[in-house]
């Protein structure tokens, strides 16, 4: 937890010290291939099967049990 907090604190200057990008300059950022949820549904499905293979994936609850396939 301590390392997580340190990581978050290190990012704060990056998040707050950036030059402002105007709306008319964001054409490329709005492109589907740049949008963060471009593959959001795929990533959710991936989390589900990775949760059955890896010890650190998942843990957000509600992904079903699948006792017999884990």
């Amino acid at each position: 937890m301590k390392r997580l907090l340190i990581g978050a604190l290190l990012l704060l200057p990056v998040l707050t010290g950036c030059a402002s990008v105007k709306a008319y300059q964001k054409e490329h950022l709005a492109d589907p291939i740049m949008v963060s949820d471009f593959e959001a549904r795929e990533e959710l499905r991936e989390l589900k099967w990775l949760e059955a293979r890896e010890g650190s994936t998942g843990g957000v609850g509600g992904a079903g049990g699948g006792c017999a396939c884990k």
């Binding site: 937890m1 390392r3 997580l4 907090l5 990581g7 978050a8 990012l11 990056v14 998040l15 707050t16 950036c18 030059a19 402002s20 990008v21 105007k22 709306a23 300059q25 964001k26 054409e27 490329h28 950022l29 492109d31 589907p32 291939i33 740049m34 963060s36 471009f38 593959e39 549904r41 795929e42 499905r45 099967w49 059955a52 293979r53 890896e54 010890g55 650190s56 843990g59 957000v60 609850g61 509600g62 992904a63 079903g64 049990g65 699948g66 006792c67 017999a68 396939c69 884990k70």
Partner: protein, 365 residues
């Protein structure tokens, strides 16, 4: 455009979307999972949005090809982790279905949702809420989320184990910041914390300990933390590259590092290809052993769970996104039709491999 809502408050529908995706997973143990995923969403001009998702899954765990308890069946017993209600059915495939429904509503950055999943031995429910807001001229987005899940586990009859019913509750919190760095670069970073309380082992799995077979026992509490960061960069030739890293640790002393990259490229205006690679490495949980000397394990805990061992894993693959609008020009009510096809391969240092196929068709109106 259509109108929905009470007579005195009609709101115009800005966009409606329907989608269907077929997903198939198969691994080296011949376990397969086929999913039929349907999605319906609507976005109103007043900012209100709603979505409904339904998933129907069929899981097939293969038959055991040796007598139960025999040396030849050891791997099948410990890794397939399937119930066997009588000797005859061990030699036939075990098939189970999972049905999931998820509904959510969103309005001006706030979201509320409910999820339910039903299987013959597992019933899960979850509620979640999320709020996000823009700052600094819409260059910074901050988002906070909270989930609460409660699961009920009811093992079916099993000859080899006496897995007792149990429940599990999960509280999950997240905080994510997305910052525009330049007109072509975005940074996304977040922290997640979850607290899991209840049954966390597989009630069908046995462990060899002290010369005999005993049921798996995991601690009932687990606190999990992670930190992640992703940088997305647009490249002038019509492609983007995303690089991400995640660090995870929990109070079972398991920690992991994940590094991934995705290259997404326009081949034509309506055809996109995406390549990816992901590397994952984790340490073992403090009570994991290849072999237990006594049936009481390590401080009373035993596990045969491969997920709690130390290993590393690789995932790579590709996917295409094909916009089919030109084939539907004569249908005015259709705004967009997208076809997706994907293949990925996963393998790890414990000799596990899996093939993942995905096809999807999504339409918006």
């Amino acid at each position: 455009m259509m109108l929905i809502g009470p007579a005195d408050s009609y709101a115009a529908v800005d966009r409606a979307l329907s989608g269907y995706t077929f997903h198939h997973f198969s691994d080296v143990d011949e376990v397969s999972v086929s999913s039929h995923f349907m999605r319906q969403g609507v976005q109103m001009e007043n900012g209100f949005g709603a979505a409904l998702q339904i998933n129907h899954e069929t899981v097939v765990v293969p038959a055991i090809d040796a007598s139960i308890g025999s040396e030849e069946a050891v791997d099948a017993i410990t890794t397939a982790s399937r119930p066997i209600s009588n000797l005859a059915d061990a030699f036939t495939d075990f098939v189970k279905t999972r049905n999931e429904v998820q509904g959510s509503m969103a309005y001006r950055g706030a979201e509320l949702g409910y999820y339910v999943s039903d299987e013959n031995d597992y019933f899960a429910q979850m509620v979640w809420t999320n709020y996000s807001r823009e700052f600094m001229g819409e260059n910074l987005n901050l988002s906070a989320g909270l989930n609460y899940a409660w699961d009920r586990i009811e093992p079916v009859d099993d000859l080899r184990s006496q897995g007792a019913p149990g429940s599990r509750n999960t509280l999950y919190m997240s905080f994510v910041a997305t910052q525009v760095l330049t007109p072509t670069t975005v940074l996304r970073a977040g922290i997640e914390r979850s607290l899991v309380d209840g049954l966390q082992h597989n009630p069908y799995r046995n462990v060899y300990a002290g010369g005999g077979n005993v049921g798996e026992i995991h601690p009932v509490r687990r606190g999990r933390n992670d930190f992640f960061v992703r940088v997305s960069q647009f490249i002038r030739n019509g492609s983007s590259i995303k690089v991400d890293y995640r660090y995870y640790s929990d109070d079972w002393h398991l920690d992991s590092h994940t590094v991934g990259t995705r290259l997404t490229q326009y081949i034509t205006d309506d055809f996109i290809v995406r390549y990816r690679y992901r590397y994952y490495r984790q340490s073992a949980a403090w009570f994991f052993r290849d072999e237990y000397q006594s049936s009481s394990g390590i401080d009373g805990y035993l596990t045969g769970d491969y997920r709690l061992d130390q290993f590393d894993a690789h995932l790579f693959g590709g996917k295409i996104f094909w916009n089919l609008n030109r084939f539907f020009k004569s249908y005015d009510f259709i705004q967009r039709v997208d076809l997706t096809l994907g293949y990925e391969r996963y393998f790890n240092s414990t000799n596990f491999t899996a093939n993942i196929f995905e096809t999807g068709l999504e339409m918006s109106f």
